[in-house]
């Protein structure tokens, strides 16, 4: 099998406090992959380490079988919403065009083709009409779609997204998941940090459950078990109720299907 990401014995620490401990996982290419875990589990840290933004304490990551710097152009990243300065004087189109910088370089010319690709990306996420809008004057869902367009404009093979559904309306979430699905059918690999247990099961092909240590990693139906979820989220009461509900749904598959059809 082809792996998009191989994580080997990865440990990352801040101030000698381990945030990721001995993670060893292989993530298949061409799949929609979810990363689940409670707050502070190290999800963002894992993504940033894969991107080379945080140095690994020990262990290493390979992307498409190669070190990151050989394949940078093929990897794109959608940051967590809170890290963006939404008052910054850039337009939706400016952000989408940044996706082309990976190809043109910092000093190369942006050609007509690059603009077309950026515009095409905006069209795919339904943001074409807002191309000239400053990014602070958008709804949460539109802001998220703008950054998704940047990732699309990069025409990467691997997409890393940190909580793309935080602060996003249900309609956008659905549209984006459809788009991500479509991308995986074209062979792209999409890795998404997700926080909603309810929808995780339906959205993803593959799941990685994380809580400093790796709890489980594999095809969603195999990994999404009460034991694994309890190991991931610990004794968190509300979450355990969520899990109980999910288990309940599982015992009534007919009802679940009905819900999906609605």
């Amino acid at each position: 099998m082809d792996y998009a990401i191989e994580i080997h014995d990865l440990t990352v620490a801040f101030d000698r406090k381990p945030v990721l401990w001995n993670i060893d996982a292989h993530l298949p290419a061409g799949k929609l992959i979810g990363i689940l875990g409670p707050n502070g589990a190290g999800k963002s840290t894992l993504i940033k380490t894969i991107m080379g933004l945080i140095p690994a304490g020990s262990g290493y990551v390979k992307i498409f079988g190669q070190p990151l710097k050989e394949v940078r152009k093929r990897v794109s990243y959608v940051p967590q919403r809170e890290t963006i300065d939404w008052d910054f004087p850039v337009s939706v189109m400016d952000v989408a065009l940044m996706g082309r910088y990976a190809h043109t370089g910092m000093f190369g010319k942006l050609r007509r083709a690059d603009r077309d690709i950026a515009l095409d990306a905006l069209r795919k996420v339904g943001m074409e009409a807002f191309a000239n809008r400053q990014i602070g004057r958008l709804s949460g869902g539109q802001q998220q779609r703008t950054f998704l367009a940047r990732a699309l404009a990069q025409r990467a093979d691997l997409y890393l997204m940190d909580e793309p559904f935080a602060g996003v309306d249900a309609a956008t979430e659905k549209a984006v998941i459809t788009l991500l699905r479509e991308m995986t059918t074209q062979g792209k690999t999409v890795l998404v940090v997700h926080h909603n247990l309810q929808s995780a099961r339906q959205y993803f092909d593959h799941l990685l459950l994380l809580n400093t240590r790796l709890v489980a990693c594999g095809p969603a139906p195999e990994v999404f078990t009460p034991d694994n979820l309890r190991d991931t989220y610990g004794g968190n009461l509300t979450l355990l109720t969520d899990v109980a509900n999910l288990m309940h749904q599982e015992q009534h598959p007919v009802r679940e299907n009905k819900l999906q059809q609605e």
């Binding site: 940033k48 337009s91 709804s139 539109q142």
Partner: protein, 295 residues
């Protein structure tokens, strides 16, 4: 009031300095590092004094290099205190620049007898001296005011830098994580900007002094920020605001017979207030809600 040769040299020099400050100041503000600009403006003082002692002249390459070094040291020290000593950002900044500035003051007063560097001039600037310090080449040609040449060169260099490196400067400011993800060195552009701020500060201290230079770094950028949502336009408007403040401040100083630096800084503040009240986009009068449109 008739405008003479001296006024024109002073105005041109002042405008060039305002442009240098507006360009670097805008980038600082967008990085939310305006306070670090303030810190550097103060921290370069010991560098200025030592370089002046060694070279015996203002605006020397010596002084500029010394200032750039101290500016980078300041940036580095602020980061170290934050990371290693776990101080907050504002505490690190306050600790670093007051220490360096105080060292500069002590040096300045200790050496007051030995060097022709006026404490008032360094702290508050004296634009009126610009026409007096004339650059004469070794062959005897009179080239005009030295400060005019220095600021013109700096202005061209900064413009060239911002035009050539606009993309990485913008990207590392806006989204450093994405920038480094696609292989751009974020620290490089960070230190490049801080170096530019240091050099700009040193060159500007003659105009407005080490203290009021902060007004030129921050106010025009803030004024422009009120008026536009476009990065390029922001830089252009900041330069314009800086230039207008210099002209208005100079006229004000001449009319009221008062401090030029003080007048220019005041004019900068007034311009900002005008923009804050009357800006079509974010002004108090016509404030459109910057609230997101829900779809």
């Amino acid at each position: 009031m008739p405008i003479g040769y001296e006024d024109i040299t002073i105005l041109i020099t002042g405008t060039l300095i305002a442009i240098c400050c507006a360009l670097t100041g805008s980038l600082l503000m967008l990085r939310r590092m305006a306070l670090a600009g303030d810190a550097i403006a103060h921290a370069v003082l010991p560098g200025i004094v030592i370089a002046f002692l060694l070279s015996g002249s203002r605006s020397s390459p010596f002084m500029i290099a010394g200032a750039a070094a101290i500016g980078l040291f300041t940036t580095f020290s602020i980061e170290m205190l934050q990371k290693k000593a776990r101080l907050q950002n504002d505490a690190s900044i306050g600790l670093t620049f007051t220490f360096l500035f105080a060292t500069g003051i002590i040096l300045l007063s200790m050496l007051a007898g030995q060097v022709d560097l006026d404490q008032d001039c360094v702290l508050y600037g004296e634009l009126a001296y610009v026409p007096l310090d004339v650059w004469i080449t070794p062959s005897g040609t009179v080239m005009g005011p030295r400060a005019l040449w220095v600021t013109a060169v700096l202005c061209l260099l900064l413009l060239a830098l911002i035009i050539v490196a606009r993309r990485p400067l913008l990207l590392t400011t806006f989204d450093p994580a994405y920038a480094s993800a696609i292989g751009v060195s974020v620290p490089f552009y960070h230190y490049l900007l801080m170096g530019s701020v240091s050099v700009t500060t040193v060159v500007s201290f003659e105009l407005v002094g080490a203290i009021l230079v902060v007004a030129l770094l921050i106010a025009p950028a803030a004024t422009a920020y009120m008026l536009t949502d476009n990065f390029r336009m922001l830089l252009v408007l900041a330069c314009l605001a800086g230039a207008v403040a210099v002209a208005a401040g100079y006229a004000m100083a001449a009319t009221l017979d008062t401090s030029i630096a003080g007048s220019i800084a005041t004019a900068n503040g007034l311009l900002f207030m005008l923009a804050f009240i009357f800006s079509p986009q974010h002004g108090l009068l016509f404030r459109k809600k910057r609230k997101p449109v829900i779809h």
